[in-house]
Amino acid sequence: MKKVISRAVLGMVALMVWQAQAWPVIDKLVETGGEPIKVYPDQENNGSYWYIPQTIDPVTWDSRYKPALSYTRGKDLTFIFRGQASVDRPMLERVAKALNTDISKFTPIAYDTSNNVVCQNVYLGNDKVTWLYPGHIGNYLEYVPVSIRTTDGEIADEMYSLITSGGFACTVDVTFKAVSTAYKLQMTADMNQVFHRFEAGAHAEGFWWEVDIHTMIQNLYRDGIITFTKIEDVDAPKTSLDQQVQAVWDDVAKQITAMLFRPALKLPDGALAGRGKPWSLRLDYQESTERAHYQATLDSHNITSKSSQIALRLATQ
């Protein structure tokens, strides 16, 4: 019998490491050594990976929970299927080897929703056959129970032949949560000129409010001192440059503030509400040729819901 990793076992592993996990980055590809499996990196933890189980297969757990088939030739058949989302364990081990790690670093992606189980029920409307299957399959921890019974001898023989030689096929729609890239831009700026603009517009002692830093940065963009270009690779969003630039301001402000400012120790007089944190320009900022051609890659992720379909194979093993 083919060795598979039960999602229940891996699910428990997943729960143990859950605190340390974030989300799979769904638009980032991971080398799989040529194996046909979808593996994605963890958003937070370098070296941790997620994979999507490809099929619902028969499962055996603890030698107690497994598919059961009762069949009397030419008379009747009862089949109780117990399946779980799974992946071929040797395949996962080969993927781990290709990534110079081990399978403890791999967590299955749980299904967020599942619905619309469709089975190839050629017995539909046949009152000699009872075929029950759930409308959804739950997440990765749950078994998928299906039962089939017939007292028609010829159909029983037919079903036995099918169940023991490949099984019946079903499909189910699933969704799962992951993160994908919201923007991916290359920022280029003459930081020396940026510093001079802030210096010229500063209050006493180089003081700036956070809200005014944001406004100045947008002015610098308008004046072409800060520019953005789209990075065109497969995990970059397909949205326009303008749309991505609209989303990037906080990130840009964070970069520039970190480079040019320090938290202000002494607040100026006046209202504080709505003006954000106070900052002081770094008066020890050193100009350099490198800073005149400053470049940074800016990207950010959004949690997204992805939909897919997976196959169920109703068989004994």
Binding site: E31, E35, Q54, E158, I231, V234, D235, S308
Partner: protein
């Protein structure tokens, strides 16, 4: 001189760690799947290893199934493994989840035999699986005579076609300049992290990287390639601190540790209309075709 400045405006000029879409220039067939070998980053095989099976069970009113599978043979897996080992390629595949590479997947059984009430299951995902799980299937009841006739037809003319159409987001690289060996630049420069270097020492390290990590280029004259690569390595990996000399950028080394280094990768993205047709016939192999859709 190569018009690098214009080229940079075109698209996709990244210093390193590029996640490229499938590269059109070096497409080949690897078993039943199309293989797109990249100059840098990932090489792809298409998840289109389709095959079929036809069977009928039962006597008086047989139940027949046409199953379509989407799985690699051991030999195809071995060929892919061989490329990872002999050429050090990073090889991946994709499915409907990777919607920025593949989109608009549309699958159909066409020209099926005229049967009553066929039950059709399809995934429309391009997911590959192990060999015993059907990717798509048709089940139907027929009479014993027709079942025998269909079995015979499956061996000869076939029972129709399983047709898969999708749009593939790909790129065509017109010029490339880089170092192929993953991690090589990092290995060369890592011992110097944290040390102040004279420019001559930094230049020596760049020279070592160029010589040991294997310069690869096309679309550039050799002298242009050498010059541009050295300039790019300097800009990417070193920073100058006034009065303290040159330092290796430690954070950049971490970023590129496992990525091939490309100084210039000038590529035009394009969307292709692709289709795979599998004759539903014993032993038939899928036919894969792509044509440009324009942007």
């Amino acid at each position: 001189m190569k018009p690098i400045y214009l080229a940079l405006l075109v698209i996709a000029a990244q210093a390193f760690a590029q996640t490229n879409p499938p590269e059109l220039g070096v497409q080949s067939q690897l078993g039943r799947v199309a293989f797109y070998k990249a100059f840098a980053g990932y090489s792809y095989f298409t998840p289109t290893a389709f095959s079929s099976q036809f069977r009928c069970v039962g006597v008086s009113e047989p139940l027949c199934q046409i199953n379509v599978y989407n799985s690699l043979t051991d030999d195809e897996k071995a060929q892919i493994q061989q490329l990872t080992q002999s050429e050090g390629l990073k090889i991946v595949t994709f499915s409907s989840i990777n919607s920025k590479i593949v989109s608009n997947i549309n699958e159909n059984f066409v020209n099926l035999p005229n049967v009553t009430n066929p039950q059709i299951l399809q995934l429309n995902t391009l997911d590959m699986s192990s060999g015993n799980v059907p990717y798509a299937s048709v089940a139907f009841r027929t009479d014993a005579g027709s079942a025998n006739s269909l079995k015979s037809q499956y061996q000869t003319a076939g029972l129709g076609t399983y047709s898969v159409q999708f749009q593939l987001h790909a790129q065509k690289t017109s010029a490339y300049l880089g170092l192929a060996k993953p991690g090589c630049v990092s290995d060369t420069l890592s011992p110097s992290v944290g040390k102040g270097l004279w420019w001559s020492e930094a230049a020596q390290l760049i020279d070592t990287a160029v010589k040991t990590c294997g310069l690869e280029s096309f679309g550039f004259r050799p002298d242009e390639a050498d010059h541009e690569l050295r300039l790019n390595l300097e800009k990417t990996f070193f920073k100058h601190v006034f009065l303290h000399g040159y330092f290796v950028k430690e954070e950049v080394l971490t970023d590129v540790r496992d990525a091939p280094y490309s100084a210039y990768d000038i590529a035009d993205p394009t969307d292709l209309n692709c289709r795979v047709d599998l004759d539903l016939r014993a032993g038939a192999v899928p036919v894969y075709r792509c044509a440009g859709a324009g942007k």
